[in-house]
């Protein structure tokens, strides 16, 4: 996972004086993340949680960030992400929910054009116990270990991480891909990283209805992943055509169902837990 987050990760928070930016920048610092700066127009020279505030991302270049957490309101995400891309920041994590997917597509392809990794939007970020956390996952649920978790959800991920930690496991990396129909990193992207990561022995994929990324992940696992993988899929009971909280969690024209995803994992030899709490059992 050193490609994404490691001891050299230096994070800025775009929108650091907002409600989320203020709280979570503090939590990240407590977790041990190097939060080197933040932006908030009109507040340069001030600080939040001991973190210096800058006017623009260009100005933060003086503290040499290589990652950013974007926590601005949805209408301003495109601008903030373009600012980070233009400044050459190599990992862009977007916390914000309700970003129009047309904006996300643009950000994603501009980022790809410049070899920049985009994570999110609308996900809890990435946590690597012992190294750093970028995002909003609660610090107390983690213990360093060998399980890597990738998920499209926030709280459900904490539930699962909590149950892993309680059951005596620990986590190498936990990554929330985001609940939108278009997100930056996908399961396959992170599966590659998990397979290469020396700290990871087990992999947990948490999927949900909508799209076919779980199906693609299942096919990828069968071909490329030698580590143990278990999965959990949520949304079995969702009525078709309804968005279940996440913009991406929707069964449309019979595609994106939980059944299809569970079937795909089973066919790839990945055990699928019936309840989140069953995940630790499947890993034993």
């Amino acid at each position: 996972m050193s490609g994404l987050v490691d001891e050299n990760t230096k994070v800025i928070v775009q929108g650091i004086t907002g409600h989320q930016g203020k709280f979570h920048s503090g939590e990240m610092v407590k977790f041990g993340t190097k939060v080197v700066g933040g932006t908030s127009p009109g507040k340069k020279g001030q600080s939040v949680n001991g973190i210096p505030i800058f006017e623009t991302v260009a100005d933060t270049m003086s503290v040499k960030p290589n990652a950013t957490m974007i926590s601005v309101a949805a209408p301003y995400v495109r601008d903030a992400a373009f600012e980070a891309i233009d400044a050459g920041i190599k990992l862009i994590y977007i916390l914000t929910e309700h970003v129009p997917f047309h904006d996300t597509m643009e950000i994603l392809y501009e980022a790809k054009r410049k070899d920049i990794v985009m994570l999110g939007p609308n996900g809890p970020g990435i946590t690597r116990p012992g190294y750093a956390k970028i995002g909003i996952m609660p610090n107390h649920i983690f213990k360093k270990g060998d399980v890597a978790v990738a998920s499209r959800s926030g709280t459900l991920t904490y539930e699962i991480v909590g149950s892993l930690t309680n059951a005596g496991f620990g986590e190498s990396t936990v990554i929330g891909l985001g609940g939108d129909p278009v997100v930056g990193l996908t399961y396959i992207d992170v599966l590659k990283l998990f397979q290469e990561d020396k700290d990871t022995k087990n992999i947990v994929l948490v999927g949900e209805i909508g799209g076919n990324n779980e199906e693609l992940a299942a096919a990828y696992i069968k071909k490329n992943i030698t580590k143990k993988v278990v999965a959990y899929i949520t949304g079995r009971s969702a009525p078709p055509g309804k968005r279940m909280g996440h913009a991406g969690a929707i069964v449309e024209h019979g595609t994106g169902t939980a059944e299809s995803k569970i079937k795909a994992f089973n066919e790839s030899g990945v055990s699928v837990a019936e309840y989140p709490v069953d995940i630790p059992k499947l890993l034993r």
């Binding site: 129009p100 459900l156 609940g179 799209g211």
Partner: protein, 369 residues
């Protein structure tokens, strides 16, 4: 958000895609004098309206008035018809299909087109459909339309109209933040003109802040869902009887799934979100109670949200709304012990693990009351 046909056609008209002349009828007085043959089309968001009797053809003033009278206020597959579109009848020689949609797998816009329109695109064999991803940074350019025309074997006259329509359809897809912009059927008339006989435009709800022109009520949401939306909640009505409040979309879905696997039937999806506030909990109860559940399950994993805050919210809601139904709560995470104590003190079942809460609420919800 799915737009009614007449709104979709307004967009088409304003953006250079030919549509039949027509007008909206919301009450019988809106009907204009009969001049030439027209079609009266129920404005409901369902495929196969025609087969369900939602479309009438009128070749006289009487037929027009009768058609409007029959359709307005009628119910089609459970949906009440409150708006009709009265449109000039078109001389259909051939029906084609074209759409631009988001391809979630490839994360790119996708053009689909076929000369076999007028039916559901899913029902057509794959090899009859021209399917092409569009690079979102490069966008649409004429060569893509030429590729489609070539695949579809269009004559030069039809191809040039078709390419202009696809170009405008892509502009609409981008300009109005569409998930889908579909013309089915795209009609070739007897005189060789192309005209959009239907319009299906689905707008990304997250983009509405920049599309004040669509400040319309989402026709596919229930009254309660709209109320919840206006208050900032993700809320979906379902057909069971166990009210559900949880935090996080994924955990809420997982809660519904667990209930269902235990033969419990959820009444709703309600995501509290990540905010830590008593009021938000109280309002969530208000919404759930309006759905008249037999029992209420609260499932909280305290990350940012603190369990004692939620507990206080539950207690306040119980008093405020004088809740008689059983409330079963699962609290885990930050301040869970304090939270459960607050609930116990107020006579509310509180668990630390999700499964026990599920089992209990299913038992209580299906039982006496």
């Amino acid at each position: 958000m799915n737009l009614y046909e007449y709104l979709g056609k307004d967009i088409f008209r304003q953006n250079g895609i030919p549509v039949p002349d027509g007008y909206l009828v919301e009450k019988p007085e809106d009907v204009r004098k009969y001049i030439k043959p027209v079609v009266v089309k129920s404005q409901i968001l369902l495929g196969g309206r025609g087969k369900s009797g939602g479309i009438k053809f009128a070749r006289s003033d009487d037929e027009l008035k009768n058609g409007v009278r029959e359709l307005l206020g009628s119910e089609i597959r459970g949906l009440k018809v409150t708006k009709l579109l009265v449109e000039d009848m078109i001389d259909i020689k051939k029906e084609m299909y074209v759409s631009i949609s988001l391809n979630r797998t490839e994360r790119k816009p996708m053009l689909m087109a076929t000369t076999e329109g007028g039916v559901e695109i899913e029902s057509l064999p794959h090899e009859k459909i021209f399917l092409r991803l569009i690079d979102p940074l490069m966008g649409y350019s004429d060569y893509i339309g030429r590729e489609a025309s070539s695949f579809m074997n269009l004559s030069p006259e039809i191809s040039s109209q078709f390419r202009s329509i696809v170009s405008n359809l892509y502009k609409i897809f981008v300009k109005y933040d569409c998930e889908l912009a579909e013309i089915n059927p795209l009609v070739v008339t007897g005189s060789g003109s192309l005209i959009a006989a239907d319009a299906k435009v689905v707008i990304d709800s997250d983009s509405l802040f920049r599309h004040k022109e669509f400040n319309v009520v989402d026709p596919e949401k229930t009254k309660l869902e709209l109320e919840a939306q206006s208050k900032g909640y993700s809320f979906v009505e379902m057909d069971g009887h166990i009210g559900v409040i949880a935090n996080g979309a994924g955990l809420t879905m997982a809660t519904l799934d667990a209930l269902t696997l235990h033969k419990g039937k959820p009444r709703n999806f309600l995501d509290l979100g990540g905010t830590d506030s008593v009021d938000i909990v109280v309002t969530a109860f208000d919404l759930v109670l309006k759905a008249n559940p037999k029992a209420i399950l609260v499932n909280i994993f305290g990350g940012v949200t603190k369990c004692d805050t939620v507990a206080n919210g539950i207690v306040e809601a119980k008093k405020k709304f004088n809740i008689k139904q059983h409330i079963v709560v699962r609290l885990s995470g930050i301040h869970e012990v304090e939270g459960r104590q607050i609930l116990k003190d107020n006579g509310i079942d509180a668990f630390s693990d999700m499964m026990s809460a599920i089992e209990t609420v299913v038992k209580l919800g299906s039982g006496s009351q």
